[in-house]
C-alpha cells in the first residue's frame, strides 16, 4: 500500500472581469427563472404521476396459473414471499386431501425488485403500476392468497386527483404536464 500523499489543491484563478461577467450571468439566469418559473413540484394528494405500464409496482398473483413451484419464495432477496400450504380435496382419491402451496407477500419486507415476477415459470405474478397504497395496520400488509389476487387501487387516483406526467422539453427541460382524459398513456 502506498501511503496517502498530501496534495495541496489550488482553486482555479478567475480574473476580476470574468468573475463580474459570471456573477452577472448568474443574476440574469436567476431573474429569468424568477419571471418565468418552471416549477415541477408534484402537489401529491391533488396530483399523481401516471406510471409506466412496466413500472415495478405492487405484485399481483394469478392463482389459476400458479403451480406452487416455490421459485418466487426462493429467489426473494428480502424474504417477503413465503409459501403457504392449503388442503384441497384430491380428485383421484376422495378420502385423502391434497396439499398445494401458494405464495404470500409481506409488504413490510418487499422491495419491489421484481425477481419473483421474472422467475415465475408460468407468469402467475405480474406488476401493477401502482405504488401508493396505504395500510392502516401492519397485519394488513401481509397479503394471503385471497387479497394477493386483487389489483390494488391507488387512493389518490380513486379520490379524483389530477393525473400528470413528466416529460423532457427541449427548451425548458423537465416539465410537468397534465394528462387529459382518454389520452394514451
Amino acid at each position: 500500500m502506498m501511503p496517502a500523499k498530501f496534495v495541496h489543491k489550488k482553486t482555479p484563478k478567475i480574473g476580476v472581469l470574468s468573475s463580474i461577467g459570471k456573477n452577472a450571468s448568474a443574476l440574469v439566469l436567476g431573474l429569468k427563472y424568477f419571471f418565468e418559473p418552471n416549477r415541477f413540484t408534484l402537489m401529491y394528494p391533488r396530483e399523481y404521476i401516471v406510471l409506466d405500464k412496466r413500472y415495478r409496482g405492487f405484485i399481483v398473483l394469478i392463482k389459476n396459473k400458479c403451480i406452487g413451484c416455490e421459485s418466487c419464495a426462493r429467489v426473494c432477496p428480502t424474504g417477503a414471499m413465503k409459501m403457504v400450504k392449503f388442503e384441497v380435496p384430491n380428485p383421484k382419491n376422495p378420502e385423502k386431501k391434497k396439499i398445494v402451496k401458494y405464495p404470500t407477500i409481506n409488504h413490510q419486507r418487499c422491495v419491489y425488485c421484481g425477481f419473483c415476477v421474472d422467475i415465475c415459470p408460468t407468469e402467475a405474478l405480474y406488476h401493477v403500476p401502482v405504488h401508493d397504497v396505504v395500510y392502516f395496520n401492519l397485519a394488513d400488509m401481509i397479503q394471503y392468497v385471497e387479497s394477493f389476487q386483487k389489483e390494488p387501487v391507488s387512493p389518490t387516483a380513486a379520490e379524483g386527483a389530477v393525473p400528470v406526467k413528466y416529460i423532457f422539453d427541449p427548451e425548458r427541460g423537465l416539465v410537468k404536464v397534465r394528462i387529459k382524459e382518454g389520452e394514451k398513456q
Binding site: 439566469l29 424568477f34 416549477r39 413540484t41
Partner: protein
C-alpha cells in the same frame, strides 16, 4: 344658568384624548423608533420579506415554497404560524450557559439594531427631527456609529452559550465584523464627501431632480450594498449561522421566542441598513417635497412611507440574491471583503471626493 352640556364635555374629552394619542404617536422618538420605520414597520417588513425571500428562491429553484398553510395567500400566513409556534415553545437555558449575557444579549442586539432608525430624519420638516438641530447636523455620523454596536452582542451570545457550534459561529461573526465594518462606513461616508455635509437632510435635498447619489456614485453604493449583505448575514454571506455546517452558529442553544428574536435581528438590522442606504444613495423621500409647515400626514407619514417603500425594494433585492448564490466559505468571504469590497469602498470614496470637488 352656567352648566356644561354632557355632550360638549364628552366631545372635548374624546378630542383631547384623540389628539393626545396622535401627538404621542407622531412624537419623533416614538414614531421613528416604534412605528415607521421602527419596530412595527420593521416587523411587518421582515415577515413579508422572509416570505418573499422563500417564494423567490423557490420560484428560481423550480419549487413552490410555503404554500399549504394558506394556498389563497400563496403561503403568506406560514410566517405567522412560525411566529406563533416560536412563541409557544419552551425556552431552554442550558445549565452551563452564562445566564445573564445569555438572556439579555438577544434583546440588546435587537434594540441596538433598531437604534439607527431613531436618529435619522425621514422628512425635511423641522419638527419631525428626532434629535436637536445641532445634533442633526451629524446624523450620518451618529447613525453609522450606532449600526456598529449590535454585533458585539452576537459574539457575546456565542460566548455565553458555551457550545462549540456557538463559539465557532461567533468567531466567524467577529472575523466578518472586522471585514465589513470599514467598507460599509466608508461606502456611506463617500456621500458625505460629495455633499460636504454630515446631515442626512442636506444629503437628501442634494439628490433632487433624479440626481440620486447612487446613480452618480454607483461604486460606493455597490460597496455599501455588499457590506450590508455581509453585516446582516444575508444569503451569500450567511456564514456565521450556516445551518448545515454549524447548527445555527451563535444561536444554537437558543429556543422558542429567543430564537425567533435572534432570527429577526439580522433582518431588522438589514432593514435599518436599507433605510440608511435609501437616504444616502437612493434619494430618500425625494420625489415628494412636503410643504415647510406640513402637519402629521403630509409632513411625516407620507415621506416616511416613501422612504420605507424604497427600503423594501432594496431589501427585496438583497433577498433575491439567496436564490442565485451559494454560501461562501469564511476565507472566501474575508478574501472578497478585504480585497474587493474594501477597494471598492475606497474607490467610491475617491470618486465621491472628486464629484464633491466638481459638482
Amino acid at each position: 344658568m352656567a352648566y356644561i352640556s354632557i355632550w360638549t364635555l364628552t366631545r372635548d374629552v374624546i378630542s383631547t384624548v384623540f389628539w393626545g394619542i396622535v401627538k404621542l404617536i407622531f412624537w419623533p422618538p416614538i414614531y421613528q423608533f416604534v412605528i415607521i420605520p421602527g419596530l412595527v414597520a420593521a416587523l411587518v417588513v421582515v415577515i413579508s420579506i422572509i416570505w418573499f425571500e422563500r417564494k423567490a428562491a423557490a420560484r428560481v429553484q423550480m419549487r413552490y415554497g410555503p404554500l399549504e398553510v394558506s394556498p389563497k395567500l400563496a403561503g403568506y400566513l406560514q410566517l405567522f404560524a412560525d411566529l406563533i409556534r416560536y412563541s409557544f415553545q419552551e425556552i431552554i437555558i442550558p445549565r452551563t450557559a452564562d445566564i445573564i449575557p445569555f438572556i439579555t444579549s438577544p434583546f440588546f442586539a435587537l434594540l441596538l439594531s433598531l437604534l439607527p432608525l431613531a436618529v435619522i430624519p425621514v422628512s425635511p420638516v423641522k419638527w419631525t427631527w428626532p434629535l436637536t438641530l445641532s445634533a442633526m447636523r451629524y446624523s450620518v455620523l451618529i447613525a453609522a456609529a450606532l449600526t456598529t454596536l449590535s454585533p458585539i452582542f452576537i459574539v457575546a451570545m456565542g460566548w455565553a452559550s458555551n457550545n462549540r457550534f456557538s463559539t465557532i459561529g461567533s468567531m466567524r461573526e467577529s472575523f466578518l465584523i472586522t471585514a465589513y465594518e470599514l467598507s460599509a462606513i466608508i461606502g456611506i461616508f463617500s456621500v458625505v464627501a460629495t455633499v460636504h455635509s454630515f446631515d442626512f437632510t442636506n444629503i437628501v435635498n442634494f439628490q433632487g431632480g433624479g440626481k440620486w447619489l447612487g446613480l452618480i456614485n454607483p461604486i460606493a453604493l455597490l460597496a455599501a450594498f455588499i457590506a450590508t449583505l455581509i453585516s446582516t448575514s444575508a444569503f451569500p454571506f450567511e456564514i456565521s449561522d450556516a445551518e448545515n455546517e454549524i447548527v445555527a452558529g451563535p444561536f444554537t442553544e437558543y429556543s422558542g421566542l429567543m430564537y425567533g428574536v435572534n432570527m429577526g435581528t439580522a433582518y431588522i438590522k438589514r432593514w435599518a441598513m436599507s433605510v440608511l442606504i435609501v437616504l444616502a444613495f437612493l434619494g430618500g423621500w425625494r420625489p415628494y417635497i412636503p410643504p415647510p409647515n406640513a402637519g402629521y400626514i403630509a409632513g411625516y407619514l407620507v415621506p416616511s412611507l416613501i422612504v420605507s417603500a424604497k427600503a423594501v425594494v432594496v431589501m427585496a433585492l438583497m433577498s433575491f440574491l439567496r436564490a442565485v448564490y451559494g454560501r461562501y466559505r469564511i476565507d472566501q468571504a474575508l478574501h472578497i471583503s478585504w480585497k474587493y469590497v474594501f477597494a471598492l469602498a475606497i474607490a467610491g470614496f475617491g470618486l465621491g471626493i472628486l464629484e464633491g470637488y466638481l459638482l
